[in-house]
């Protein structure tokens, strides 16, 4: 067999079996043994496929795997995935799954925690390489795997490794994790990620508890309220001077892409939120634009004084808010922080104490990038249609670390994969197509 697609079809059962083996490893962040086993397993599988493989132990995280294999062209592609089972939304795994995971394979699906996020997508890339090597004896371009074992959503230990290992390669394309088929069964690719700056804003008050009858004394809850009110008005526009300066607005072409995005999940969101409306009563296209294209500021928590059910006649000792600025390219979190400080200072709220609790830089790859176009050509070959392009995604990721390489988020999951839920699964046909998509992407990229 010389056609890698055909090879995939012939060896598909073995690939699914290997994926099941990988899924069986209980690589939860709270199970270091499971994490180590998964890292060793992956290193072995990569080495067996001729990759120069480094399993790098890290002090404050789990091993980082870096594996490289040269290719027939000067094109270089890096696959970024993670081998820990995501549990960010759900917290620690149920005890019975902590050390033993048993994938369920039925006629059309493979079910297991971790298979949709991100073990399926990871192994599809390995199997694409496998099929290319088996049929052609070489890879069309240089391929590297950077495989994360994260402790938290954004891994603070990753940046120096990206600098040292990935940047010198000057990759032409980063294949990022995640890219589900939408509810209209169309494959999707996301090109960016929002960033964020998560702060605690604290208004200090008196050194002692003051009764509220002393109402000529400053009240930190008012200070905080007024300060927050100065950040954003009821029209949802952020009022911090210069907040929008660095925003790279969608091009006409990107705006056009928004029209293609499936919004049936938004209808469900509206229903489940039981509010009956989005902000400003927006609908359809406006909602999609706000979700993907608009930076924003959100109050995640407010805390001051007494929260109990009774009358407490006291001036709060302090008032705190957790405030999240969600950013789009090319806003920089610490630039936004400076601007917020200047804003508060100008309005006389200089006593507020701002603490940064988390941050991530937004990033968006240009849809016009030739290697993104290569991904699209590959999709036409595999799916018979180009992918639906999300110029951005609403969540954060560390895509920005790889700037200026374009990132394409593609995957083997679909809209109903239920990542992080007990019935997390992928469909086997999606897995087959996912492998072929990677094969075709490598081939198309090599031809750019």
């Amino acid at each position: 067999v010389s056609d890698p697609f055909e090879y995939v079809d012939q060896h598909f059962e073995a690939y699914v079996a290997e994926l099941a083996d990988f899924c069986r490893l209980p690589s939860w962040g709270v199970n270091p043994d499971g994490m180590r086993a998964a890292a060793d397993w992956l290193s072995g599988r990569l080495a067996r496929r001729g990759f120069a493989t480094d399993c790098i132990d890290r002090a404050d995280s789990f091993p980082l795997i870096w594996a490289r294999r040269a290719g027939a062209s000067r094109c270089r592609i890096v696959c970024f995935d993670h081998y820990e089972i995501a549990d960010h939304a759900t917290g620690a795994p149920p005890p019975e799954l902590l050390t033993h995971l048993e994938p369920g394979i039925s006629r059309d699906r493979l079910s297991c925690r971790g298979v949709a996020d991100d073990k399926g997508t990871l192994l599809a890339r390995l199997h694409a390489v496998d099929a290319l090597l088996a049929t052609r004896g070489e890879l069309p371009c240089e391929v590297a795997f950077l495989l994360e074992g994260k402790r938290q959503v954004s891994d603070p230990t990753l940046p120096p490794y990206v600098e040292r290992l990935v940047k010198p390669l000057v990759p032409d394309l980063i294949l990022w994790e995640t890219g589900p088929k939408d509810e209209r069964e169309r494959p999707t690719v996301s090109l960016g990620a929002k960033g964020f700056l998560y702060t605690e804003i604290l208004a200090p008050g008196a050194a002692v508890q003051l009764p509220s009858r002393l109402n000529v004394f400053p009240n930190p809850a008012w200070d905080l309220t007024w300060a927050l009110g100065s950040l954003k008005d009821r029209d949802e526009r952020v009022l911090v001077d210069g907040f929008y300066d660095a925003v790279r607005s969608f091009t006409a072409e990107e705006e056009h892409l928004l029209d293609e995005i499936d919004t049936s999940d938004l209808g469900r969101t509206l229903e489940q939120s039981e509010l009956g409306r989005f902000v400003l009563g927006e609908r359809g296209r406006e909602v999609v634009h706000r979700l993907f294209g608009e930076p924003s500021v959100t109050i995640c928590a407010l805390e001051s004084g007494d929260a109990g059910p009774d009358v407490r006649v006291a001036i709060p000792r302090r008032a705190r808010a957790k405030v999240e600025f969600r950013l789009v390219a090319d806003q920089e979190p610490f630039d936004i922080l400076d601007k917020v400080r200047v804003h508060f200072g100008r309005l006389g709220f200089e006593d507020l104490q701002i603490t940064v609790m988390g941050h991530s830089t937004p990033y968006a790859s240009p849809v016009t990038d030739p290697f993104i176009q290569a991904v699209q050509r590959a999709a036409v070959r595999v799916y018979g249609q180009p992918m639906v392009v999300k110029p951005n995604s609403t969540g954060m990721s560390q895509k920005y670390l790889f700037r200026p390489s374009p990132t394409a988020g593609i995957g083997v999951e679909y809209w109903g994969s239920h990542a992080e839920r007990p019935d997390e699964h992928i469909r086997l046909e999606d897995y087959r197509q996912g492998i072929k998509q990677v094969i075709a992407t490598l081939q198309e990229a090599a031809a750019v």
């Binding site: 050194a207 809850a221 969101t269 109050i299 995640c300 407490r312």
Partner: protein
């Protein structure tokens, strides 16, 4: 030697015993809500009132500890003393120290002429000075110069029981020509203060509804109740401290010239001391001194007492809060009506697009003030001049809220207030104390007030 001289001599002669009794009552941990401690204090009072020959009735009051009513009949007229025997545990809850050498909340110790205990000034000392004044009169002349009623209240919560209900049931027992309340300590210049009223309040919780469950914060398209609360609060009051609710100020009683001369012009400036204790640089709007003091008495205000939305604590939670709440206190001055303010708030919220916000009333009481140039304030002031060489001053009102308005409404009698306290009394802490010499003077003052009441003519009957 006339009667009042003999009564004062009796007070001096029995002063150590009086103090021992103050210590006894102060050592009882009568914390509102603590049935055991409150019952112990109640028994102590019943016993004390009986021992000085008063008729005692224990009134069982819904949602409250029993009230102790002590009564001494006597023409030609009568006075109702309003006090409480709980230790006002509402702002700073009682804390027992970890170390034995630190002062506990109920020590009752007398050190350097100061008697220490939570509740010593508010309100046990203030109460017993009145009881001892009556006791002195009875010991010296065999009777009190006027009829006396002691209503001794045991609160469970800061708001107390449903006063309208209580007064509806008991006002026939409480009838009197005037009423002496319990607020008014010595001021920063150590002048005894007579409070002519107190503020009112309306305490509400606002609940801004949001999504029924918690959504990830990446859903920037979902309405966020914490923002709506923030915007709403900003529409209630801005940094200029002016309450923006329509008609909020319309019922504020204008300051009369007489009132200004008799009260505001004589106010001491104790804001500086309070600021220092609180570790604060300045009062709101940068005001200080007399201006701050006048504002403290005259301005109705709106305070945020609590804010809550989302998950508290140090975690970075990327979520939208499903609900946001604020606890708000409107502190009112005469003649604002809390229920009218509530109505104004509700219609204002509707007008500015927040009609879906739930307004829960957690407490309310109306303000009250008697004008200084009327008979009771004049009489009490006259009595003060005998005891306090430096004189007393009127404060337009106590800045705390109270229930004088309700009592005035049911009893149709004027009300003034004062207490055994001074600017350094550290109220509601373990260091709360009274100065024993203040206690002596106040006991004599009350004795003098009783004498004045017996003597005074038609003006006190004119209401």
């Amino acid at each position: 030697m006339n009667d009042i001289d003999r009564v004062e001599a009796y007070i001096d002669a029995n002063f150590d015993r009086f103090l021992t009794e103050v210590q006894e009552l102060c050592r009882i941990p009568s914390i509102g809500g603590d049935d055991a401690g409150m019952a112990q204090a109640e028994r102590w009072l019943v016993d004390k009132y009986q021992r000085i020959g008063m008729r005692v009735e224990v009134l069982n009051v819904a949602d409250s500890h029993p009230f102790v009513l002590g009564e001494e009949p006597g023409p030609p007229r009568s006075v109702l003393f309003w006090n409480h025997y709980d230790i006002a545990n509402f702002t700073n809850p009682v804390v027992y120290p970890e170390n034995a050498y630190e002062r506990g909340p109920f020590s009752g110790d007398i050190v350097d002429g100061k008697l220490y205990a939570r509740g010593s000034t508010d309100d046990k000392g203030t109460l017993l000075a009145r009881v001892h004044a009556v006791e002195a009169w009875k010991a010296v002349t065999g009777r009190s110069p006027v009829g006396v009623k002691f209503l001794t209240v045991g609160k469970r919560t800061v708001a107390g029981p449903n006063w309208a209900q209580f007064l509806d049931a008991y006002h026939p027992l409480l009838g009197a020509d005037c009423c002496i309340w319990e607020a008014g300590a010595r001021d920063e210049q150590d002048r005894q203060v007579i409070t002519l009223g107190h503020k009112g309040y309306l305490y509400v919780e606002l609940v801004v509804p949001g999504t029924k469950r918690t959504w990830p914060s990446r859903y920037t398209i979902l309405p966020n109740p914490a923002w709506r609360l923030t915007w709403l609060l900003g529409r209630l009051k801005g940094p200029d401290e002016r309450v923006l609710i329509r008609d909020f100020y319309s019922d504020v009683r204008p300051l009369s010239e007489v009132s200004k001369t008799l009260t505001y012009d004589r106010l001491a400036d104790d804001i500086g001391v309070l600021l220092e204790e609180a570790g604060l640089q300045s009062a709101i709007l940068g005001i200080s001194g007399h201006a701050a003091q006048v504002r403290l008495y005259t301005e109705p205000t709106l305070a945020i007492c609590g804010l809550q939305a989302g998950l508290p604590g140090e975690r970075m939670d990327l979520v939208l809060p499903p609900e946001a709440r604020a606890k708000l206190e409107f502190r009112l001055v005469p003649d604002q009506d809390p229920l009218k303010i509530l109505g104004a708030l509700q219609s204002y919220l509707r007008d500015i697009g927040f009609g879906d916000v739930e307004v829960r009333v957690l407490g309310q009481s109306a303000p009250y003030a008697v004008e200084p140039d009327t008979w009771l304030p004049r009489l009490v002031m006259r009595a003060a001049e005998r005891v306090y060489p430096e004189g007393a001053v009127f404060a337009p009102m106590a800045i705390g809220f109270g229930d004088r308005h309700q009592f005035h409404h049911w009893l149709h009698a004027p009300i003034v207030g004062f207490a055994v306290g001074y600017a350094g009394y550290r109220i509601e802490t373990n260091e709360e104390h009274i100065r024993v010499e203040d206690y002596r003077q106040q006991t004599k003052w009350v004795a003098g007030i009783l004498a004045q009441l017996a003597r005074s003519g038609a003006d006190c009957d004119s209401g």
